[in-house]
Symmetry: C2
Subunit: 277 residues, 2 copies
């Protein structure tokens, strides 16, 4: 998985740095082959949790410019679904030329360039009549206030056929995803539970995580550890070592679909680490 | 001011509503000619307070699609200034075709379509060499972490010559702004103080605002009032009337540039209202 990622890491390493060697480069303290979500899966997870974005269309006035506008969207059959007014610039633009992209970005604190985001590139056209009632349901469940104008005669549903996806997960973590890989991937089933599990682990089970870092990774001098991420394939920690915080990822034996699955998989890893003490 | 605004309100009224008359329409309870920031001024104020956006460029691969990407920017001579990597898609796109737009959106709670946003449309080109040191200073003061890569040989400063601006202040409040009006407008000098002043007024001076609503607007049955906005030309309140909350705007006698100016102007209005009791 993520072979494109390695190419991009290589690219980053090729950046023309002014001062020669870079002391920020560090050896990875965990097995880089540990199961990890693909970029397509990461993008689908973000897509399932965000509902506003920038739609880029081909402007008819001023003509020939790429034009960005704010939109709300819902997920519908793995594609973005828009409910847009005939009066809006983007709608007029799409009627003339369906070529578009949708830039979806995570919100958050800290360095904005470390946030995850992706761009769907494809053609945006009016939704076929036969899918209208399903589309209305999907849209209103994501945007309840849309019920006030969903039946206006000059609001239309548009959807995008995704051709290509550019995914940027943060610094040096990026790739192009094909439309097929996008369609085949699914959002992380633990996405809505992960914050709660992470808080619980950091509140009550730091000792267990320290042992995991010491025994299941190369961070043998770990003196504290915090969970920083969790997904269907494993979890990530920040191990506090004598040289400072270092990222550690451990993979689950079996894919976790529910929070109970995740609990069992984490316990298995802690047991394994304790047996090595 | 804001004559375009009225046209857009008319447009909104023309929306093909399914149920005939709309009981949400209400008469304005204050003088609509009260001094108000222009859309260009509102956009410049947002521009001075936001530093991430979506850049739209003409994609070279896949070819011919408008391509949205996440960018950080700084304000430089009234234009957006970007520090972008030669490896990034948007940079390659701009080198081939300078046509671009930048969609800048306010963040916030509540209905996302009620948030302010604007799109700058223009040509993005490399900054001229002579302005490099000033540009570095402007960029690093807005994005301190950029100092780590600002001198990399494959990062470049680009800036946009703004041709047209689409401003959307929320529902029914939108217009096109010319590049000249954009360049001539200035951000609100009270922008960084307004939150503090509004909190202070709502904590300690609701009685004064109730009198202002009763005597200086048509909301004569106001029984409570909250300040909701403040700018160089006046302030806005939500007047709690027997028919529910209603927006009220009052204009200052003189333009306020400092928070002390604003304090004096507010006191003048309260005195005027008290004299009418």
């Amino acid at each position: 998985m993520n072979t494109d990622n390695n190419k991009d890491i290589e690219k980053i390493k090729r950046h023309g740095r002014p001062g020669g060697a870079d002391d920020r480069e560090q050896d990875l303290l965990y097995d880089s082959n540990v199961p990890t979500p693909t970029h397509a899966e990461d993008a689908r997870t973000l897509f399932s949790r965000i509902s506003t974005a920038t739609l880029c269309t081909m402007s008819i006035n001023p003509e020939g410019f790429p034009y960005g506008s704010f939109v709300t969207f819902a997920e519908f059959e793995g594609k973005p679904l828009f409910l847009i007014s005939a009066l809006a610039e983007h709608t007029k633009n799409l009627i003339k030329d369906p070529k578009a992209s949708l830039m979806v970005s995570e919100a958050g604190e800290g360095n904005p360039l470390a946030l995850g985001r992706f761009t769907l590139v494809g053609n945006c056209t009016r939704l076929e009549e036969g899918k209208l009632s399903e589309a209305k349901e999907a849209f209103v469940s994501r945007h309840p206030s849309a019920r006030f104008y969903i039946d206006y005669s000059d609001f239309f549903f548009f959807t995008m056929d995704v051709i290509d996806v550019r995914y940027i997960g943060g610094f040096g973590r990026m790739s192009w995803i094909t439309g097929k890989d996008w369609a085949d991937a699914s959002p992380d089933p633990l996405a809505e539970h992960s914050v709660g599990i992470i808080e619980h682990m950091n509140d009550d089970h730091r000792d267990a995580m320290i042992i995991c870092c010491k025994k299941l990774s190369l961070a043998i001098d770990t003196n504290d550890a915090f969970m920083t991420g969790l997904d269907r394939y494993g979890f990530e920690m920040s191990a506090i070592t004598n040289k400072g915080p270092r990222p550690i990822r451990l993979g689950f034996e079996n894919k976790a679909v529910t929070s109970e699955d995740a609990r069992k998989e984490i316990i298995k890893l802690v047991k394994k680490a304790r047996q090595m003490e």
